[in-house]
């Protein structure tokens, strides 16, 4: 408006929008045609974009066709038996639909290669299979479109699915090769390129069933082992890295003093020092420390606070931001400065240890949480990650009718958790995940 004044333009140079007069009215009066709740989704106001008029939504598009429905008979090319069926057909302007039955095109079948008797004699004989059986197999394959489960069920003699598959595919492959002896094209045919491997298939299915039938305990154990293995691998890598950097440092120092010192003297302390950080450590923590120390050494001079920062960064690189915030919150609750006021060597060491212990504490809290939640058989993803949304969890709880559901007020608790920013209550029930957003069972200690 001011701009218009400045420019000297007339104020109402364009037609006033309808929308302007409408929004104040519309906020009080919802349009007909859509329910109140649906309208509330938009925030109770008209949408910013010119929306469809809701009353128009239920109208049908104007059509100039005359549509009637007739009870007609159909013949489908999919059927071979000339069966006449009748159903309601949408007739437009008096013209019934022409052409094949519209669903006939979905009647697909698999191309099963057929062999002649001579071909059988020549290429396809197998000690484990009689000709009859093979014929039966092929017939069933065609009938059931290679659905081997069904075929195995219908097969007269009991054969496993894998055996049937193997016979079928090896026959088809042999046929293919026999019929096109020198053709290069078929080399890329899937049957030729990747033949069916029965032992592989059996092994695969066995492994899958093993995984499927694993108990929860085993799952957890497996994950722990994997995590441990990962950590060991990591520590090996970082031990290697720190060894390399140690070598770099040592070689630097060596280079400097070469002109003054006898090389022999500098070499002797080298191996002993290089050994130091390269000793494979079982815990990743100390390797991180070792690599941080190595990088600090390179600096020649540094401040204790800087060293502490580096150590903290290295330690928290594996933890997420939320975990770090939790650790800091815990430190504050304990009355400890986030950054020590008197950062001497021992103070820094104690500080780092304290942080490590708090991390352990938080992990245990989380573990306990999961264990308690496990009271309900609810499997969802990996247990080391943050669980799914509270809503999801909730759903699982409510499904279990036979499990006493102490947290039907869980929704409330969930909200409470989210709103609450108060410090974690260390002195209270240990399973109080003060910082977590998941709804949790209400305990007597909560009140």
């Amino acid at each position: 408006m001011d701009a218009k004044d400045i420019l000297g333009l007339p104020k109402n140079s364009f037609p006033p929008l309808d929308k302007k007069s409408r929004p104040p009215k519309e906020s009080h009066r919802k349009p007909d045609g859509i329910s109140r709740e649906v309208y509330a989704l938009t925030g109770g106001l008209a949408p910013l974009m010119p929306a469809l008029d809701p009353s128009q939504l239920k109208k049908k598009p104007p059509s100039d066709e005359k549509v009637a429905w007739q009870w007609l008979g159909i013949t489908s090319s999919a059927r071979k038996d000339n069966l006449h069926l009748y159903h309601w057909v949408r007739v437009v302007n008096g013209v019934p639909p022409t052409g094949d039955y519209s669903f006939a095109k979905y009647n697909k079948s698999v191309d099963i290669t057929k062999y002649t008797n001579e071909e059988y004699e020549k290429y396809l004989t197998d000690p484990g299979w009689t000709k009859e059986e093979t014929d039966q197999l092929f017939e069933l394959c065609e009938r059931f479109d290679l659905r081997f489960i069904v075929i195995a069920d219908r097969f007269p003699s009991s054969r496993t699915v894998e055996e049937l598959k193997e016979r079928y595919y090896s026959v088809s492959r042999a046929l293919l090769l026999a019929r096109n002896p020198s053709s290069v094209d078929i080399a890329s045919h899937p049957l030729v390129k990747e033949p069916y491997n029965i032992s592989h298939d059996l092994e695969r299915k066995r492994a899958m069933s093993l995984v499927l039938s694993q108990t929860r305990q085993q799952e957890l154990r497996d994950e722990e082992v994997l995590a441990e293995a990962k950590r060991i691998a990591q520590s090996r890598i970082s031990a290697k890295v720190s060894q390399e950097s140690e070598m770099a440092v040592a070689s630097n120092a060596g280079v400097e003093v070469t002109e003054r010192t006898i090389p022999g003297e500098t070499v002797s302390p080298l191996p002993s020092n290089a050994q130091h950080p390269s000793i494979p450590v079982s815990s990743s923590m100390s390797t991180e420390n070792a690599s941080t120390l190595a990088s600090l050494r390179i600096l020649r001079v540094y401040l204790r606070t800087y060293a502490l920062e580096q150590m903290l960064q290295a330690a928290s690189s594996s933890a997420g931001l939320r975990t770090i915030k939790r650790v800091e919150q815990t430190l504050q609750d304990l009355g400890v400065n986030l950054k020590p006021r008197v950062p001497t060597k021992s103070v820094c060491a104690e500080h780092l240890e304290l942080r490590k212990e708090i991390l352990t504490l938080l992990n245990l809290q989380k573990q306990l949480q999961y264990k308690e939640a496990e009271g309900l058989p609810f499997r969802e993803g990996s247990y080391t990650e943050t669980p799914g949304t509270p809503k999801h969890f909730h759903h699982g709880k409510q499904d279990r009718a036979f499990v006493p559901d102490p947290s039907f007020g869980g929704e409330r608790t969930g909200k409470r958790d989210q709103k609450r920013k108060a410090p974690g209550r260390l002195s209270e029930a240990p399973s109080s995940p003060a910082q977590s957003k998941r709804p949790r069972k209400l305990k007597a200690s909560d009140f």
Binding site: R216, A253, E256, V257, R260, T261, I262, E265, T266, P269, N273, L293, L296, R297, L299, R300, V301, Y302, L303, R304, T305, A307, L331, L334, G335, V336, N337, P340, R341, V342, P343, T344, S346, V347, E350, H351, E353, L354, E357, I358, T360, L361, L364, Q365, Q367, L368, K371, E372, E374, G375, L376, P377, R379, E380, D399, R400, V403, L426, P430, S431
Partner: protein, 274 residues
């Protein structure tokens, strides 16, 4: 060519640091060359630490204050126990706000401090240069100058300065032998127990320019305002915190083992929706 003559080993002394005996000096003279070469040898097992405190102290000028000069402040770097840092630091460069004349102020000898008058608060960059046998790399510190007290109630006092100090420690992870030997017994420097079998050369004093200058800040005019940094307090607090956390961990572990021992509830039917 190792040390040809057996010298008294440092590690054999219980007090951790052996004063240089005159006999050693005599022997050392004849193998001066070897000493020089060894002096620059770095000792990896020893970490030298220099605890410092750096900060600012600002006085409100009261009646004498003008628009542009309301406060008189001093920025300094001192030893944590007010000892002389000149043994380690060669010079300190204070980088002030560009609105000052010659904002780069160099202080060549201890006490490493600088006083100025001004009205504004800004961040001061302090660069410490060390003696050649200590470290050839410089170290940077940053400190925000604070003139106005936290407590804004009432008029500012001209008698009590606004003091902000930070404690830190300069760490030399691989000091040269010459450095170790020179500062071994100096109160401003923390030298840990030297490993056995360490043959240190004789100390070579560094040039300090003005020997008469009082190096330490023990009797500094501002010393009454210096803050106290007690390691013991912090250690105590940390130890208490750790105990608390450890007790908590034990409790949780016990709980966890209880829960794990609980039998699992029956599995859901196959129509379970996930």
């Amino acid at each position: 060519m190792s040390q040809p003559l057996p010298l008294k080993r440092q590690g054999e002394h219980d007090d951790g640091a052996a004063p240089i005996k005159p006999s050693r000096l005599k022997i050392a003279l004849s193998s001066d060359d070897a000493d020089k070469k060894n002096a620059n040898k770095r000792v990896k097992e020893v970490e030298i630490c220099v605890p410092i405190v750096y900060g600012t102290s600002a006085f409100y000028l009261g009646r004498k204050a003008s628009e542009s000069q309301s406060h008189k402040w001093t920025v300094y770097v001192r030893g944590a126990s007010n000892e002389d840092l000149g043994v380690v630091i060669k010079r300190a460069v204070f980088q002030l706000h560009p609105s000052f004349n010659n904002p780069t102020r160099v202080v060549e000898s201890p006490p490493f401090e600088l006083s100025e008058c001004g009205w504004g608060e800004f961040e001061i960059a302090i660069t410490l240069h060390f003696h050649s046998d200590v470290c050839d790399k410089q170290l940077d510190l940053y400190h925000p100058l604070k003139l106005y007290p936290e407590d804004e109630s009432g008029p500012q006092s001209t008698k009590k300065p606004v003091v902000v100090e930070s404690y830190d420690e300069i760490v030399f992870p691989e000091p040269s032998e010459a450095f170790i030997v020179r500062v071994q017994n100096h109160p401003a420097v923390v030298v840990p127990r030297l490993p056995a079998g360490l043959n240190l050369p004789s100390p070579v004093p560094i040039e300090t320019g003005n020997e008469k200058e009082r190096g330490d800040t023990k009797d500094h005019p501002l010393s009454q305002w210096f803050l106290n940094f007690s390691e013991a307090d912090e250690l105590l607090k940390l130890a208490a915190a750790r105990q608390q956390v450890q007790a908590h961990i034990v409790k949780l572990r016990r709980q966890l083992s209880l829960v794990e021992g609980m039998p699992q509830l029956s599995k859901p039917p196959s129509t379970y929706e996930s």
